[in-house]
């Protein structure tokens, strides 16, 4: 047989066996991440060359067994059976097991080897097992099981070469028929079932699926086959199970019993101990402290606070740096290009769009740095253990805590963190309520509205400042609303039995920096490549809606005049009375209007103050023009169109436009409000003077009939709307990516916008009647 040039190898194993570490050790950084079609399971591929053969490594999700109980779990079985079209035929399987805990780990192996594909058994974390005094006679194990057994310590790169060699050796060989023997009664039922299906449908599924169908009561193989063939299958299965129960082979207990019994026999004499069994291990002693009523809670709060502050505040300098680079890039483009549509597209569309993606990277990287450390050292499952009781009260599990907490800083990394939840129902629920947590992007909106409309120096109960109280209320409202939302979703959308919590608490170990960093890199890469493009497109689309279809030549002319005045002022500052007059670019016919007159009437040498005044006048003029252009753009027109819709919230069309424009990100509402109230978008930048100017303009804004537009109920209505709405393209796109479906971002957008609208409506209607 000639050696093939390409091989597909699957990696499977229990959670906490160092599977990702082994994956990285085998394939290095050459990975590709996608989703398996039609489900939320991540398809992680690694590529490497060995002995001139190109090997594609498929990493399957960590699992304790191959008894599929959901569509997501069925993927692993389909891949192994070679039925997953996008993976194709499998040449070999690496079954990875924790060398220190063989008995439970090999349960999965006994199922995997029945698929019939050549298997290499990899005993990982060998060094840790040795340190704990566990000795495995791997020669004997290999002989008994009839498969190659390789020992590795993947986090130290030990045994990887041997593993690669073993893969080459097994490809093309047939697997020895050493397997747990099921009782004759069971085999008889399988034969009967097979014959019945052959007679009835003219086809029989692979033996492995047939067995799964009989063994997994209510499992995915049963559902899938009954659906594909006919519901008649179900009573036949039930009768078969009943006959088995009568003969003392109760399904499903029979399977675990047979496999574990067989494993114990195989491992007798193979696994021994060099030191007596420790009843209390070092890991147990650490656990005593970390899950203790007092010390455990203190440690947990400290760790969570550290994570939260890191992504809330620690990421800020990096985000500022990204925005500074973005500003610098925009400035550079503006300095080399004349004003025009293309320049606006590059500056506001492209640079703004790239910025809106990259700005999330620091938070994602930091959160996943912590998550990877916690997962690798074993604390992640303890965190779930500690929080479970609290989280079950709102219909979630302990594993939802970290994603939801992170969402208070930013829902994007929060939604991404939900992948630590293996159970699909829990994960979906967590993803859908994560955007309700008050993220840091809402803060600028709250600050502006509270600063401008909630009276200062007013205290509730004489000590609590009203402004602070309102801010606190805004922060809590999302989390409070999330409780009934979670309850309703659990009751009507993700119904069914409560997912089991049953979870291994792995031994503590030192996290490996290489693994932690590669996991952070993976997540950032996945975000930028797969969600980033969508976020970028949204930003460009919203730019276009705000730019077209109006003629921007007047605005552009003003912009170039301002640029010239600014240049002259800088020059004039350094070399007084140079007397150069800004020139209009050739071919640019001067237009009428105050700007033009201001330009004409300015003398050749004026004092600095006078020039400054001229410049200010020009700027004001430009702000007016920009505001008008926005009002007449597609975006502005749609704002006018929906005015009847937002009137009951106390808003006029200008607020409506600003809210629509904030679809890419909530904080954009400030820049849009600035533009549309003719203050220029820069007014949204930080600074006390800007804040004051912004606040006073909003305070003096009126309805056409002269009534003040912004009142306290209107301000609160805007804040409540922003607390509950889904105006964040990045969150919606990351939900699209994590759930692998457009359905869930649409559901999120609709339910959150609905909630936000109703809440803002009630707040305004009640508030304006008080």
């Amino acid at each position: 047989m000639t050696a093939p040039h390409e091989l597909t190898v699957v990696l499977i194993g229990n959670p906490n066996t160092g599977k990702s570490t082994l994956f990285t050790a085998l394939s290095g950084m050459h990975t590709r991440i996608a989703n398996f079609p039609g489900c939320t399971v991540e398809k992680k591929l690694g590529m490497y060359q060995d002995q001139g053969v190109k090997i594609t490594l498929v990493d399957l999700p960590g699992t304790y067994s191959l008894s599929p109980r959901s569509l997501d779990e069925m993927v692993s079985v389909d891949v192994l059976l070679g039925r997953q079209a996008d993976v194709g035929k499998i040449d070999a399987v690496i079954c990875i097991a924790d060398a220190a805990n063989l008995e439970r780990n090999l349960y999965l192996y006994t199922q995997v080897r029945e698929i019939g594909v050549p298997v290499v058994l990899c005993l990982n974390m060998w060094d840790l097992a040795e340190a704990r005094g566990i000795v495995v006679d791997r020669e004997a194990l290999s002989q008994r099981l009839g498969v190659p057994v390789v020992v590795t310590s993947a986090h130290r790169n030990v045994g990887i070469t041997e593993l690669k060699a073993a893969i080459h050796r097994v490809v093309g060989t047939s697997i020895a028929p050493v397997r747990p023997e099921f009782p004759a009664a069971f085999n008889h039922e399988i034969t009967q079932l097979s014959q019945w299906m052959q007679a009835k449908y003219g086809a029989v599924p692979p033996l492995f699926l047939l067995e799964r169908m009989l063994l997994d009561v209510g499992g995915e193989s049963e559902k899938k086959l009954a659906m594909a063939l006919s519901p008649e299958l179900l009573p036949v299965l039930a009768a078969s199970r009943e006959r088995l129960a009568e003969q003392g082979c109760r399904v499903p207990a029979i399977e675990t019993k047979v496999r574990y019994q067989w494993l114990r026999e195989q491992l007798t004499g193979v696994v021994t101990r060099s030191s007596p069994v420790e009843r209390v291990t070092t890991s147990d002693r650490i656990d005593k402290v970390l899950t203790h009523k007092v010390t455990g809670v203190i440690a947990f709060v400290a760790v969570m606070l550290l994570i939260f502050l890191s992504i809330f505040a620690g990421a800020a300098p990096f985000m500022d740096a990204i925005q500074a680079v973005q500003g610098w890039a925009a400035g550079w483009v503006e300095s080399v290009m004349g004003p025009g549509t293309l320049r606006s597209l590059i500056v506001d569309g492209v640079i703004g769009g790239v910025g809106s993606v990259v700005v999330f990277v620091p938070q994602i990287a930091l959160l996943f740095l912590f998550i990877a450390i916690m997962e690798d050292c074993g604390y992640m499952s303890r965190a779930a253990f500690l929080m479970d009781k609290l989280m079950t009260k709102i219909g979630l599990s302990g594993k939802s805590f970290v994603p939801l907490m992170s969402s208070f800083a930013c829902a994007v990394p929060g939604v991404m963190a939900a992948r630590v939840i293996e159970n699909r129902q829990d994960r979906m629920l967590t993803i859908l309520i994560a955007p309700l947590m008050s993220c840091s992007a809402r803060l600028p909106v709250y600050m502006l509205m509270i600063g401008a409309f909630v009276p200062e120096n007013v205290y509730v109960a004489k000590v609590i400042p009203l402004q602070g109280l309102v801010l606190f209320a805004m922060y809590s409202v999302g989390a409070l609303v999330a409780i009934p939302v979670a309850w309703i979703l659990r009751k009507f959308v993700f119904k069914g039995e409560t997912p089991p919590f049953v979870m291994e608490l792995p031994s503590y170990k030192w996290p490996s920096p290489k693994i932690v960093l590669s996991r952070v890199y993976d997540r950032v890469k996945a975000f930028v490549l797969r969600a980033g493009t969508l976020i970028f497109c949204t930003t460009v689309l919203v730019w276009a809606a705000a730019y077209f279809p109006e003629d921007h030549s007047h605005e552009m002319q003003l912009q170039s005049e301002i640029a010239q005045w600014e240049a002259e002022l800088t020059v004039g500052w350094d070399q007084p009375a140079l007397g150069r007059r800004p020139t209009t670019p050739e071919g640019d016919a001067p237009q009428g209007g105050p700007a033009f007159e201001a330009n004409l009437s300015h003398p050749t040498s004026t004092s600095h103050e006078a020039k400054q005044a001229q410049l200010d006048q020009l700027r004001e003029e430009a702000h007016l023009v920009s505001g008008q252009l926005l009002a007449d753009s597609y975006l502005g027109r749609s704002g006018r169109l929906i005015e009847p819709l937002v009137r009951p919230l106390g808003w006029d069309w200008r607020i409506g436009v600003s809210v629509i424009a904030s679809f890419p990100a909530r904080e954009v509402v400030l820049a849009t409000l600035g533009t549309i109230f003719s203050l220029g978008s820069e007014v949204a930048d930080e600074g006390e003077e800007n804040e004051k100017r912004f606040a006073s303009t909003l305070q003096s804004a009126t309805w056409p009939d002269g009534r003040p537009l912004f009142t306290l109920p209107v301000a609160v209505s805007i804040m409540v709307f922003f607390a509950l709405c889904a105006q964040c393209a990045a969150t919606l796109m990351i939900i699209r990516r994590e759930t692998n479906s457009w359905r869930w971002p649409i559901v999120t957008f609709v339910y959150m916008t609905g909630l936000a609208y109703v809440a803002a409506f009630m707040v305004y209607q009640v508030g304006s009647r008080l």
Binding site: S67, P252, T291, F385, D388, E497
Partner: protein
């Protein structure tokens, strides 16, 4: 007696896992099989979930999950 009722430091023997649903299958797959020894290590600060030692590893179960596992004391008869 069920697994949620045992006290810390008293190993017990598993007699049965009741039911044939996802939870029962998962418990059995994790090695909770008739005849196996299991011991309570501790509980989370709020009293639930519980931490057990079985087959040489640590397993966390909610009390209402542990209720599905029927056990007996190793030394004596069930009280």
């Amino acid at each position: 007696m069920t697994l949620d009722q045992i006290s810390r430091g008293t190993p017990v023997r598993i007699l049965d896992v009741t039911g044939d649903d996802t939870l029962a299958i998962r418990l059995m797959e994790m090695g909770l099989i008739e005849g196996e020894r299991i011991e309570l290590i501790g509980a989370a600060p709020l009293g639930d979930p519980l931490e057990f030692s079985v087959r040489g590893y640590r397993l966390s179960l909610r009390a209402n999950e542990a209720k599905r596992v029927i056990v007996e004391l190793v030394s004596g008869r069930e009280p």
